[in-house]
């Protein structure tokens, strides 16, 4: 006799999985903050870089954030946080852009790009660990764990 199959979705776990993904990308952003070496020379007439941070969104909702310098980080205008994606950003406030990419008077010093490139090769491990931590408390479907 042919056996039928029935797929039952563990909907509660979907939220946990989304949050786990957000935790993962947020950990990558935090790792960039940990390794970045912020220059202490002011860009042309623009003062020092004082603030920075990392923020993560899941399904359009902010789920994590950390700052250096104490100021809350507003979502950049150009950043999209779609309802079906997790998004994390890391960066520094004005005048970091001019330090990172230079001006007509100063050389570029891409300190943030360097940090990102340093972290990116190990991002899979960082995401994996953070995801595992979040999912450790999720019960397997069927109630047997």
């Amino acid at each position: 006799m042919a056996r039928g199959s029935r797929v039952v979705l563990n909907r509660a776990a979907f939220d946990a999985i989304t949050l786990a993904e957000a935790d993962g990308v947020f950990e990558v952003a935090k790792e960039v903050l940990d390794v970045v070496n912020v220059p202490d020379a002011p860009a042309f007439g623009q003062g020092l870089i004082e603030g920075g941070g990392a923020v993560a969104w899941a399904a359009g909702k902010k789920v994590g954030g950390t700052t250096i310098g104490g100021k809350a980080i507003a979502k950049p205008r150009g950043l999209k946080t779609p309802s079906n994606q997790v998004v994390a950003i890391v960066g520094f406030g004005f005048p970091a852009r001019f330090v990172e990419l230079g001006t007509v008077d100063t050389h570029a010093n891409p300190f943030l790009t360097r940090a990102v490139m340093q972290v990116t090769p190990g991002a899979d491990v960082i995401i994996s660990k953070a995801t595992a931590r979040r999912l450790a408390g999720v019960r397997a479907y069927g109630g047997r764990s």
Binding site: R97, L101, G102
Partner: protein, 137 residues
């Protein structure tokens, strides 16, 4: 490794669309008489080497440059950036003097800004390219 930064510069300098607007395509910093005050602006391009990750078991590097196109007006800056992007975006394998570039791609599109001193408008974006780290015969 092989430094393909100069090759990227040459591709921009040789591009007809870019040449139609300016022949001032510079590496790292502006050239003499590029950066001027308000009312004297001239269009020019500065290409900044952002480095890139060389792979360990494959002779390939994922390299990155920032292209900053300065214009007389914001619209002019955008036009110049678009010309630069068209010269490099989604361009496939090419070989020049043993430097092999597999593909280059505009990964950000243009983002507006202005220089903090001269206030000259610019549009900048990031170009990623995949380059062989050994000479290609």
């Amino acid at each position: 490794m092989i430094d393909a930064f100069g090759r990227i510069l040459d591709e921009l300098r040789d591009d007809a669309g870019v040449l139609a607007i300016t022949d001032r395509v510079r590496g790292h910093v502006p050239g003499p008489n590029d950066a001027k005050g308000a009312g004297e602006y001239v269009p020019f391009v500065v290409v900044i080497d952002m480095g890139g990750l060389p792979l360990t078991k494959t002779p390939v590097q994922f390299a990155r440059v920032t292209v900053r196109a300065y214009g007389v007006t914001p619209q002019g800056a955008k036009s110049l950036y678009v010309a630069c992007s068209n010269a490099l975006h989604d361009v496939g394998p090419r070989l020049d003097s043993s430097i092999g570039i597999y593909r280059s791609q505009d990964v950000t599109g243009g983002d507006e800004g202005a220089d903090p001193r001269t206030k000259q408008p610019y549009v900048e974006g990031v170009i990623d390219y995949i380059v062989a780290t050994a000479a290609v015969a």
